[in-house]
Symmetry: D2
Subunit: 148 residues, 4 copies
Amino acid sequence: MDVWHETEIRVRYAETDQMGIVHHSNYLIWFEQGRSDLCRTKGFSYKAMEEEGNALMVVAESYVRYKSPAFYEDLLTIRTRAAEVRSRSVRFVYEVFRAADSMLIAEGETHHLVTDDKKKVRVLPEIYRKLLTGEGLGEPVPADMPPG
Amino acid sequence: MDVWHETEIRVRYAETDQMGIVHHSNYLIWFEQGRSDLCRTKGFSYKAMEEEGNALMVVAESYVRYKSPAFYEDLLTIRTRAAEVRSRSVRFVYEVFRAADSMLIAEGETHHLVTDDKKKVRVLPEIYRKLLTGEGLGEPVPADMPPG
Amino acid sequence: MDVWHETEIRVRYAETDQMGIVHHSNYLIWFEQGRSDLCRTKGFSYKAMEEEGNALMVVAESYVRYKSPAFYEDLLTIRTRAAEVRSRSVRFVYEVFRAADSMLIAEGETHHLVTDDKKKVRVLPEIYRKLLTGEGLGEPVPADMPPG
Amino acid sequence: MDVWHETEIRVRYAETDQMGIVHHSNYLIWFEQGRSDLCRTKGFSYKAMEEEGNALMVVAESYVRYKSPAFYEDLLTIRTRAAEVRSRSVRFVYEVFRAADSMLIAEGETHHLVTDDKKKVRVLPEIYRKLLTGEGLGEPVPADMPPG
């Protein structure tokens, strides 16, 4: 069972810099898009969790290892996985591959604290914890299943 | 009498693209920084206007004319002017110069609607209108004078 | 025959600002992605045109009219059209719609000068001009056909 | 003796997200601005090193620890230090403070490989290594001293 969620993105011109490659700050934005997509696949919207669940996943730490440059128009796969789901924190890990040559472009991780909208640390609501871990859903839910 | 407000910025590496020049989307961000600085100079904080005055200046239109490329590490001057202050809308105009050779890099304008935090159009609070126009501050400050 | 090319994007968290809506600078980046996709659909890569054709389409002017705010996770359609293809310049026009409610989010245009890699204005190579206009291809090519 | 270089920046509106705080990807851009400024202070331009020295400092790893949120209009100090200057790699460390309350906002580090413009790893030219370490400039400048 593959627990990675995959998101496809195409490198935008604006994401390159004068070195002719993707600027390294963009990987954090792609990771975030990967997290967002993973949540949708797990059955909930990150947006709804913020608005209805009053639970924000504030980024506490980020780490990126840049393995090989990515270029304008590259079609990339962002692989995202909820590596650790605790009561007040979540850790996601990521891998970025280029579709054309299966090259590993980057890998990384982000560590999040769960807070309310006043930025106070709180417990991750049970429903989101279960959806993220797939626990108590009878059938294990492979992360690469289509949403819906 | 010069009614332009000047803001200095240095071009960041991340603002360049693979053409080796500043990506054209950054000018809108610099214009915004120019507006922000202009407000501070006029005696109020754009942030306070949003939070305390419940008045947001939502961007309704933007226009940029790119005259000459800017490069990494260039020291640029953003000149900003409140060209038109109406009861429910404000128009700012901008010029971007490079300090080193006085080259005109870009010029543009943005048109804003005044709204409350529900995005409903409202009247610009009197205090901000007066501060923006300089009206009632002893010396009238013409808002429509040509630069220089 | 519909000459608009359509590109789908999903709004990223990083593209929002503290007003809770998409920051207005992102539309220029989406327009660029629309142009890029349009070229691919027309049978050539913008990247190849830069590298092999030594022809860059430098942005000379941009105009955006923001009609309605877009939000995090919105699925948007960027419609792009080459409105004017001249020997040394090209003008693209754009419309941004939200899929969910068919709301017009923004519209705009960009005007480009064709230059070589030294930023010297040059004639757009015949092959790209023909591909952009669809001229001399026997059958008219509707812009909404899938690439390939 | 303080070996940290300090750069002041003011938070831009575009750098905030809908959480009402600075988006976490911007710290990497600020760190880069810190490096850039540090080089200028040390007597050379990063731009010149790329163009004349044919030496690029490609980012191989980045790490950021977000301690406290930063807000629109905050005046921040980016402290940058070349923590390790080796023949083919350089490591910079950073701290971000808010001027108003001396709050530590973030800390991080980036690890760089020295390459030529073909992205091939090479030795950091002697002149830049000496300027970065302060070696051979009369007074030795310890690169590993604690801040303050």
